[in-house]
């Protein structure tokens, strides 16, 4: 059967912090980049408790000239933070657009494989309304789990694995 030879995922486990994070890791853009802001939030389990041994990675396609990749381990309060600028809108087929978004990977003890989600921006209403992926999500309450909130340093985006307001994850 085609497509069936592939290495399985396994959990990142609790003991990666001495190995995977690096000082520049959280910076999708270099500090001092004009317009740079922080996206920060908490990673929470089904009891609402912080996941203090998780790792968040983000990837965005542009704007040109930036690294676009960031990696942040979560701290004792489950907090992560990445420094970036807003990605650009990309034209898709059939009048759709890819609204500005970040692709997100969540890894943690207790996650046997990557949980993938997206971060969208609340101040991109027109683009969001024409975004093919948000359209698939459908339900407003579920869509809201993909939307960052404006904050003092940039945006806030909490990730809830379960329960009320649980983040929607994608099969990638």
């Amino acid at each position: 059967m085609s497509g069936e030879v592939r290495s399985a995922a396994q959990t990142i486990g609790p003991f990666f912090e001495f190995a995977l994070p690096w000082p520049d890791g959280p910076h999708a853009v270099a500090p001092g980049t004009p317009g740079a802001f922080w996206i920060e939030g908490r990673l929470l389990d089904g009891a609402g408790a912080p996941i203090d041994d998780g790792m968040i990675e983000t990837w965005q396609l542009g704007p040109p000239g930036i690294r676009g990749f960031a990696r942040s381990a979560t701290d004792a309060e489950g907090r992560y933070a990445i420094l970036t600028v807003k990605p650009v809108s990309i034209a898709g087929g059939g009048g759709m657009v890819h609204a500005p978004h970040l692709a997100v990977s969540v890894f943690a003890r207790g996650l046997l494989k990557r949980a993938a989600t997206r971060i969208y921006f609340p101040d991109e209403e027109a683009a969001n309304a024409a975004d093919a992926t948000l359209m698939i999500v459908g339900d407003d309450a579920v869509r809201a789990t993909l939307m960052a909130a404006s904050s003092e340093r940039g945006y806030r985006f909490d990730i809830r694995m379960q329960g009320r307001g649980a983040t929607v994850f994608f099969d990638v």
């Binding site: 290495s7 990837w59 990309i90 978004h101 996650l111 046997l112």
Partner: protein, 228 residues
């Protein structure tokens, strides 16, 4: 165009796996939504962007990162990173981390009553060559106990983190050692549904990579999903 190789119920562990207790409060509760691959999923950072700014000494030789030699059985772990079509993926980052020979991690919250080794950190990375090959020199990690259930022990393993070409291919997994009796009772390894898929995570003892008078060799190929 190459097919999209997403989560497979035969290969990938389910998020909710009751025998691995930490999944209970962490497995996503909503069903996964199938995401059409777009420009973001089919792109990724250039490898230089992932290695710049790292200060690890001798990143592919974990036995030469300190003043002295680490204790334990020196081994070589080599293999290839492939895409779902079996094509090698050159120039892609491979990160590894592991416990020392006694089964102890250099991590503040590892409380296992086993000694740290001042000459071993257990962290490395390398970039695959033109044939998609990687090669690490390290120490065979020890098994260690964990709290999942009474008398629970993890089989010896090396953690692997891979990027492939793009976001769709990102993978974190573990490499195991052939003949380890703990594999049969490990809830993490056993969370992989099909035996053939479990076997793919067990390295092969490989005389061709063994260096006489110096180190035993193991082969470990990794096939990524997603789409190149």
């Amino acid at each position: 165009m190459a097919p999209e190789r997403r989560n497979s119920p035969r290969i990938d562990p389910p998020f909710a796996s009751p025998s691995y207790q930490s999944t209970a409060l962490r497995a996503p509760s909503r069903p996964l939504l199938r995401l059409p691959y777009g420009p973001t999923e089919l792109s990724g950072p250039p490898v230089e962007a992932l290695t710049a700014g790292r200060t690890l000494v001798n990143p592919s030789d974990l036995t030469r990162q300190h003043a002295g030699e680490p204790l334990g059985e020196r081994i070589i772990v080599g293999g290839r990173v492939l895409d779902g079509e079996g094509r090698p993926l050159p120039g892609t980052l491979v990160e590894v981390w592991q416990a020392n020979a006694c089964g102890r991690y250099v991590h503040r919250s590892d409380q296992h009553q086993a000694p740290l080794d001042p000459n071993f950190t257990g962290s490395g990375f390398c970039v695959t060559d033109a044939e998609g090959r990687f090669r690490f020199v390290t120490i065979k990690p020890g098994a260690y106990p964990w709290k999942n259930h009474p008398n629970a022990w993890r089989p010896a393993h090396i953690h692997f983190s891979l990027f492939g070409r793009n976001f769709s291919q990102r993978l974190i997994t573990q490499m195991y050692f052939p003949g380890d009796p703990l594999l049969a009772v490990d809830p993490i390894y056993q969370s992989i549904p099909e035996p053939f898929a479990r076997n793919l995570l067990v390295a092969r003892f490989d005389f061709s990579q063994t260096v006489p008078e110096w180190a035993l060799g193991y082969s470990f190929d990794i096939t990524l999903g997603g789409r190149t």
